[in-house]
Symmetry: C2
Subunit: 167 residues, 2 copies
């Protein structure tokens, strides 16, 4: 099983690193993808290597997509490859987990209308405008979609991700 | 079950936060203890609340002790309460997991002579001088003692911690 994390510079460090390490703990191979392959840097200064450019990602290779927050989604959501990858996961009903500003990419892909979801509080207005049935909870699971609000929610976020992966 | 993390300012952020969130994912209550109760700040700027002063910790309340790295252990190792807490875990053969500079506290407590262990590479000389059978591996498990070298080792470190907790 392989997992895909899509992010960019100024990611929220724990929201990328906690899922990354947790999936590896489980023996799952994780690829990070960004606008181009190479190093990306979090808001708190951690650097990780994006092994893949978004244009080189084949969504069929991955069982789950994870979208961390921070300022990265503001850039990711403008990348057409990122949007088509997210759409492909939804079409196949494969798990997509987004936290904090991560759901912005799914808004831009037009995937959230009528879905129950949460996000960082500053994104709540935009979520509702996009037709989301917004819930202010540590984690919301609606079918293939798992969303959380902020770093403190990571235990609940990861608990639901691991459940989904193992089911 | 409760877990205890001992740290201080300038902790290595991921080495504290990844175990903290991982244990909470598992439904385990985690207390952070430091020289005094209140906020402590990592090298990368993350803040966490130490709910306990070290002088107020009763080691009997906890099933596992975790010692993250960074610059924090340089201060923690000079605190007599931290050393006596660590000794108590060893006497009771309860799991103690230390990463990076974390094992320095165990050296100061005189607990590592003759034990197989690892640490951040810059601590290797001090480990060997203290009688450690040093191994340059992502994780070393010797009885109750689990040690790792650096943030990249966190998946293996957490895998062994979770195995120990569940056994």
């Amino acid at each position: 099983m392989k997992a895909l994390i899509i992010s960019a510079d100024n990611f929220e460090d724990t929201e990328l690193l906690v899922p990354y390490y947790r999936l590896k703990e489980e023996g799952i191979d994780v690829d990070i993808a960004s606008m181009k392959a190479g190093s990306i840097r979090g808001k708190h200064g951690y650097e990780v290597i994006a092994r893949k450019a978004l244009s080189d990602v084949d969504p069929e290779d991955y069982a789950i997509l994870i979208l961390p927050g921070g300022k990265a989604p503001g850039a990711v959501r403008r990348n057409e490859h990122a949007l088509s990858i997210a759409k492909r996961f939804f079409q196949k009903k494969k798990p997509v987990a987004a936290i904090c500003h991560g759901p912005q990419t799914l808004i831009s892909a037009g995937l959230l209308a009528g879905r129950r979801a949460t996000s960082y509080k500053s994104v709540a207005g935009e979520m509702k405008d996009a037709g989301v049935l917004y819930e202010d909870k540590e984690v919301v699971v609606d079918g293939n979609l798992i969303t959380s609000r902020q770093p403190d929610d990571l235990p609940a976020f990861m608990r639901e991700i691991m459940k989904k992966i193992k089911s």
